[in-house]
Symmetry: C2
Subunit: 238 residues, 2 copies
Amino acid sequence: MEPATPSIFYEAYIFDLDGTVYLGEALLPTAGETITSLRSLNKRTVFLSNNPTHTRHDYAAKLTRLGLPTPPEDIINSSVVMVDFLRRRLPQARLFVIGEAPLQAELAAAGFELVDEAGWVDAVIASFDRTFVYRKLQIAFDAIRAGARFFATNADRYCPVPGGGEPDAAAIIAAIEACTSTKVEAVVGKPSPWMAEAILGLLNLPPDRCLMTGDRLETDVQMGLNAGMAAALTLTGA
Amino acid sequence: MEPATPSIFYEAYIFDLDGTVYLGEALLPTAGETITSLRSLNKRTVFLSNNPTHTRHDYAAKLTRLGLPTPPEDIINSSVVMVDFLRRRLPQARLFVIGEAPLQAELAAAGFELVDEAGWVDAVIASFDRTFVYRKLQIAFDAIRAGARFFATNADRYCPVPGGGEPDAAAIIAAIEACTSTKVEAVVGKPSPWMAEAILGLLNLPPDRCLMTGDRLETDVQMGLNAGMAAALTLTGA
């Protein structure tokens, strides 16, 4: 069977990564061919992830390794959006980050001071953190009760891994919300408008010229539609 | 002013501890005198705590030190109730306990096998745990996704300490619920019916002969009223 040729083309194609382009270390069926075809037609391809435990350089290297050479600039994840979000709103903020080393490094590289003394914290950043310990919960509790703001990179319940999953940022956010009785103010990852803004800023295109493709209705498709893009759901992922 | 003499007496007086009888290492005003007077009138006095990080022996020693000699048997906390709850329902259960050493010791002493291999876990017990680390969240996640039951000792948001608070079991429960999308099945501490049952079993009295006194409407007073006891609110605590 010949693959169907679409009757409509967009200027830019935005892809979720995990569960849409690849799963673990393997491209999903037809994902590579689709992206390569679109590029050969001079369409722009960019990639999104909610996962802040890798940098855009890590994702670029992975796509390149899987046969889809991609520059880091064509990748946006929730830590990139968090840096942008904080730069615009709280450029001088001292941050207490519940997150892994790559997120901490990106925030520090953007000029934010990272602190862990509750009284000094302007904002608590909750994220996917496999190095989470009670002491971090205590600092977040003390800081938020003393007036610190409370933001999160993403709200995924768990991160799929071969054979199971790893508790993701939703668990960290819920723990802090439960003990402080304070709701997170903003989650910048999908399906937030801040993530959509970051993509459209990168593409410099009106949303109706873009197609968002992902494997989760409540994040990928929701965000695309909210932002005025076309959206497509793959049935390959979560 | 003379203290008022009550016009009604009960057979038994049940007191919450933290914020009702004492705060930190000091008795609250009139608490000691009230309890001593009731005892001199041959009324039964028993004590309750949701906090599973101390044993009933610890609480008895503390009350005795503060001038209110009390045997361990007259104290019920959420770990005592958890032991009873599990003995009746899941006597052979292998448990993964997210809790501190005293809770683990009480469950082990009651004959339960404590395990931390997710595939072996029959029930996850969530509790107040200042030794909480991500690995425990991962084990709870894997165990519950594989079918383990999910119970908690108490659902307090934070434990008041001088000058602030410590994130309590509500944070642990919320983290597990958020990543597993599974609600805790039972929380045995106040205001649960299991805690009320444990007290009435200890007292061997009908509920309307008992007065429950505490500093929290949503735990102490709620539990007393639900169980058919009279209930009084002190304004000394949380």
